[in-house]
């Protein structure tokens, strides 16, 4: 009897506090599995954000540092410069990374910090109760955009992968999702590649993962998967936006 799948050793036994069916949990697994696959768990330091993933420090079975809202890339920069041979990653939501933390992520990318950022884009501020995020879709209703995000007032959602891909220090940028087993497999490959490129010291790496927030979208977890596939992906195309290992070949 062979085990086909079991919980990753890189996750602690703590029960996760995420809402039922929230795909934050799936993304955690992929990161954890990658740390095991690449055999870097013991030399990894993760940086947790402020957002629904704030308790990520309780879930990953490696050293963890809880950052202030938006500042995870700066914290990771501090860690990596002290410990250049360690594997350092940040795990950040769209409010954290694309709103308050815009400057920090842009500059970590510019400096080509050898870190990996897992960017969980769920088009909303999950933790604080469903307010508008910079990634909220035009027309999408949130508690602070009760009539739907208006283009006239707030513009269109920001596409961070595309934006960061304009920066030379970024070595690898891909956008994926986890709404189907196939997507999950692809997301896993992206995350693995990002960590590999980090360990090769080639520069900043980020995987943006489109994720659901059934609670604040007001949907069942399964409905949320469909909404993501049908409505979010067109606004946030899945693609590799930068890969300097390709150029080199």
């Amino acid at each position: 009897m062979a085990i086909v799948y079991e919980k990753s050793k890189a996750l602690t036994d703590a029960e996760m506090h995420y809402c039922p069916g929230c795909t934050h949990g799936i993304i955690h697994k992929l990161v954890a599995e990658t740390l095991v696959d690449l055999d870097v768990l013991g030399k990894s330091i993760g940086v947790a954000p402020v957002g629904c993933a704030v308790f990520a420090y309780d879930y990953f079975n490696c050293d963890m540092h809880e950052a202030a809202h938006g500042r995870a890339p700066a914290v990771a920069t501090g860690i990596k410069h002290v410990l250049p041979d360690r594997t350092v990653f940040t795990y950040q939501g769209d409010g954290d990374l694309a709103a308050i933390g815009t400057a920090e992520i842009v500059h970590a990318a510019m400096r080509g910090e050898k870190i990996t950022t897992i960017f969980v884009n769920n088009a909303v501020y999950g933790m604080t109760g469903g307010q508008m995020a910079p990634t909220t879709l035009v027309g999408q209703k949130t508690t602070t955009a009760p009539f739907g995000r208006s283009f006239e007032h707030y513009g269109a959602p920001i596409r961070m992968a595309e934006l960061l891909a304009t920066i030379d220090g970024a070595a690898y940028i891909e956008r994926v999702t986890v709404t189907t087993p196939a997507h999950i497999a692809k997301a896993k490959r992206a995350i693995k590649k990002a960590f590999q490129i980090q360990d090769e010291g080639l520069g900043f790496t980020m995987v943006e993962v489109l994720s659901t927030c059934p609670t604040n979208w007001g949907m069942t977890p399964v409905e949320a998967l469909s909404w993501l596939n049908e409505t979010m992906i067109p606004a946030f195309p899945l693609s590799v936006f930068r890969d300097i290992t390709k150029k080199e070949k």
């Binding site: 506090h17 995420y18 809402c19 933790m127 609670t215």
Partner: protein, 179 residues
């Protein structure tokens, strides 16, 4: 002179906050001073929550209910946590549908309400909290039954008007648990 400090506690989703709000609104519309103060547990989703309501005909000093005169315990952790703090001579309303044990203290009055059975009997699980409220009103005589009905009638209009009846029935059946 009324100075009631009421604590309502249970799981998120059991209508704990709504019971409190209804009490506060009713108290206010009967001309009393009221306050309502929610408290959410450390768990950010699910978990236990409670609210304190003060209803008084004098000035309300503190809205924080630490030693309630009445406790409405919707689940076991709530009864466990707050039973010791109820004032001597106070009343504890126990949601006996999911609380297996009895009140242990001898110096308080205990009232047992099978709220979920009542609700499922009426055919709408969402009125379970109204059964608790009915018992409360009957037992304390603090508020008029009519005030609640009037509030319900204001709240549910149009397509929702039929809910008034359901709620009323829950109130009554809850009240019937008080002997």
């Amino acid at each position: 002179m009324a100075y009631n400090e009421i604590l309502i506690s249970g799981f998120g989703g059991q209508g704990v906050m709504a019971i409190g709000l209804t009490l506060a609104e009713a108290g206010m519309s009967e001309g009393m001073n009221v306050s309502w103060l929610p408290s959410y547990g450390p768990e950010m989703r699910g978990g236990t929550a409670n609210c304190g309501v003060v209803i008084a005909d004098s000035e309300i000093i503190s809205p924080i209910v630490l030693e309630p005169s009445e406790l409405i315990a919707m689940n076991l952790p709530s009864l466990d946590k707050f039973e010791p703090h109820v004032k001597k001579g106070g009343t504890i309303f126990v949601n006996e549908s999911i609380i297996q044990r009895k009140v242990q203290r001898g110096d308080v009055r205990a009232i047992y309400v099978p709220s979920m059975e009542i609700a499922s009997g009426i055919g709408n699980m969402r009125v379970a909290n109204m059964a608790m409220l009915g018992a409360f009103i009957k037992a304390t005589q603090l508020l008029k039954y009519d005030t609640i009905i009037a509030m319900l009638t204001q709240l549910f209009t149009g397509s929702k008007a039929h809910l008034v009846g359901l709620n009323e029935e829950a109130l009554e059946r809850g009240a019937a648990c008080v002997d």
